[in-house]
Amino acid sequence: MIFLSCFKTKKKRPALLVSIVGVLLGTSLLAVELTGFGTPGDFTMISSTFATNTPGPTEYQIIGNDGGDTILGGLSGLKDITGEVDALYFTGTFSGLPPDSAFQIQLVDSFGNLRTYEGLWNSFANGTPSTVTLNFLNQTGSFVLTNVSSIRLRTAGSGFESINLSMDRLEAVAAIPEPATAIPLGLGLLGLLALEISRRQRVQRIMAKV
């Protein structure tokens, strides 16, 4: 299937269903997972000013405040985000009321160039896993898309608000389709899915007769 082969997310999950739902919701078909945070070796802390840094089997927890805390971590090898450069999907669980300030995630290539994305803490739900979109802001130097080696989270608030975040997954994605494009595309994919199911059922009936 064409639309299955182009689905590049490496995390194990019902990819087809997720892609269709994603398109219907206006999210990208494509994604490159930069880190799963919890996987041993998938995110290795290089430096952090957060008061608490707790690696876990499935997540990485940081506790601090929004007034200057920052964490830099290395990825498991070089990541290639070619074609998936417009936004980041950042999945995690925020404990407590999220700050009303912005934050940034910077991708760092192996030459030290930075590619910066910005999101809002209050896009996270309180206490339940959620995925926040960070939009591309700018970059320094000639960022090499095939050589993403580490990531850095930077805060931008007043320091009055607490951060308690269990980071679960970070993905790079391409431009988010407009709803006017996404809905017909999603309906088309649903049609393809129906055709595929129908074809498999016909094959099964024929095989049963044989």
Binding site: T49, T70, A102, T116, L120, R152, F160
Partner: protein
Amino acid sequence: MAQTTVRTVPAGYITMDITAGKGTARTITVLSLPLQDTATAAGQVVGRITGVTANTISNSAAGWTAGGLSVTATPYQIRITSGTALGRTFLLSTGTPNTATTVTLDPADAGLTNLTALGIVIGASGDTYELIPADTLSSIFGTPATTGILGSTTSTTADYVQLFVVGTWKRYYFNTTSNDWRLVGLETASNNLPIRADSSVMFSRLPATALQLLLLGRVPSTNRKALIANSGTTFLADGWPLDATLSTSGIQTTPGWVASASSSTADVVQLMTNGAWGQYYHNGTNWLEIGLNKISDTLPLPAASGVIVLKKGAVTGNSVLTQTIPYNLSL
């Protein structure tokens, strides 16, 4: 800092740009007030010091109006303009009114410095001073109608201004019910809160529209000496109406500054760069960005901005950062 030749004490204005908020979230802009108003008080606004105690300065020929320099709505600062204390600036008390010849320091300033320990020379050939009006929350940030700041009946839906006051971060917002600036939490009326020349201000903007504030006045005409706490936080003004860099700021030359090859033991400077906080330490040769360890000597410190200084030591007291005036004045 690099020297720029200027033939007179320039007066005019600078524009302070406040970054637009996100609508549903805030954006921080760090500001400072590098231009100074002209004193209009009666008596000698510049003169010679004839007496000093731990917390008072006298000029026997001053001729000040009693209490005229101690009005809460129009507070004053005094700057020493010669001698070993050249560039030190103190807020004057509004609780202890001045007399015709003597001014008293604000208790917070007096708590940090004993004037008799500064080597100030008194008498007919003593050191000199100038009086400088101090800006206040209301004189700088005005009202929603005059400057466009967002006021509200509650701080959570208003812009707010954040200062580091006597060792504590405090936030203030414009309350549209009382029609004045209030301290977040205690709701203390704060229109007249003075903003010290050496301090910075954090403006937290909520609406998705930028603001521009005009700051009028004269450029500083002397070197500057600013206090940096030996332990903990100092919210330090950039101090000059010119762009500087981390390196030219001279912060790393402050007595007792801890430079180290390791960011975990070095003193730190924090500033807004590219929309978020960055932290930097000095390794004895260069300023480096924590984490990436990228050399950052030329990182810009824009005019009318400021930095947060984080000293890790446990030593009490303060140290003096001395900055040479970055332009030549030919009066």
